[in-house]
Symmetry: C2
Subunit: 241 residues, 2 copies
Amino acid sequence: MNCILLPKNATSITEPTQITHIKEVLKSQVGDSLIIGEIGGKIGKATITSIDDHEVQLRDVTLDKNPPAKLNLTVVLALPRPKVLRRLIMDMTSLGVNKLIIVNSYRSQKSYWQSPLLNRMDEFVFEGLQQAIDTVPMLVEFKKLFKPFIEDEFPALLEDGEQSRAVIAHPYAMQSWKSYLADAKNKYRMPKVLCIGAEGGWIDYEVDLLCQYGCTSVSLGERILRTETVVNVLLGDWLKA
Amino acid sequence: MNCILLPKNATSITEPTQITHIKEVLKSQVGDSLIIGEIGGKIGKATITSIDDHEVQLRDVTLDKNPPAKLNLTVVLALPRPKVLRRLIMDMTSLGVNKLIIVNSYRSQKSYWQSPLLNRMDEFVFEGLQQAIDTVPMLVEFKKLFKPFIEDEFPALLEDGEQSRAVIAHPYAMQSWKSYLADAKNKYRMPKVLCIGAEGGWIDYEVDLLCQYGCTSVSLGERILRTETVVNVLLGDWLKA
């Protein structure tokens, strides 16, 4: 938690995890300064005027810095095992992904859709924002039907209809991400959509359908990586673009 | 577990986690083929001849493929909270890091060094290898004294004594990783050593000492990322180099 995210016009902190962080990790005292952000707004500072178990009061709230820019990127993610979802959401948020669309895939087990963790997206996004010192939540949507989503909604994500502005990470793709990236950078543009499979990857049918709707299939090489690792390895290239 | 890693000349599997994986995840039957690797050796296949709770027997063991190349990279990591160590070790292993040196740092709490997880490095490396279909373990060393390690042993990691062949990830560095990387790539060489801090980063004294011994300090930008995220974001650039 590198900043404390607060609702608009807040002059005190009542969220238990934030209070615990201030007391136990930061070990802040009355008179200390805190890095704060306004949800959806600017970043700044405030001074602590009182601390107890239920509330931390603030004065001199100054919000004067814009949050870091978001990546011009929508991630389409096959629903993974719920236990990895928290870290995935946090990482994507902290890396600045604009929008996340979680879709069903052949290898997403039906039980995953029943997980109570799916109702906790806002909380995981919030954690990612407070990690990265950002204030603007990543948008998260769920699409339980893969084919209708790809056929009816996916093309609009590419908007300008340009080819190859969407990539699908697939360990067995012929083209390497490296060569794709070199080409994209030469053209001064990164893909606007990145599709990432869950454990076990996409099945051929899914890869084919995505490619039919404008995706280019790319591989990171021989090593098979965990979903979380792939996400960070790939998103790093938008961060550095 | 994308391959089952076995000792040299093994014709059966007796490791409980591997047997559970074969039975419950792969749902393999007698006659099915398995992707296997010989620890430190080649990768190949074998056919299952019997499965019970304590042993999976194999025939036609064929080891004919070299493991993927390791990255020419040593990571120097400040000892993080033990609970993140397993994933960090797995990820670095699966991404192909050659050697990991875990050092003490100002922000590594003393209690971290007492964690029983520090005795389980081999197990975490093994998991990373089986994830990535690799067979050659990442070397892991511990250095409990930061200053003597940097002064006496760090320079040898750079071997050829070239400047700027080591980088330290530091959120407040002046130079961006992107500009450093562009320069490194123009010279057809990536740094041989990457130093990554734990939660809260390196303190100034540590950054200064590392820089004095040949490191260049680089930043990934405004966003403050978790250690695990930084590791994957940066290592991706060696993977793609």
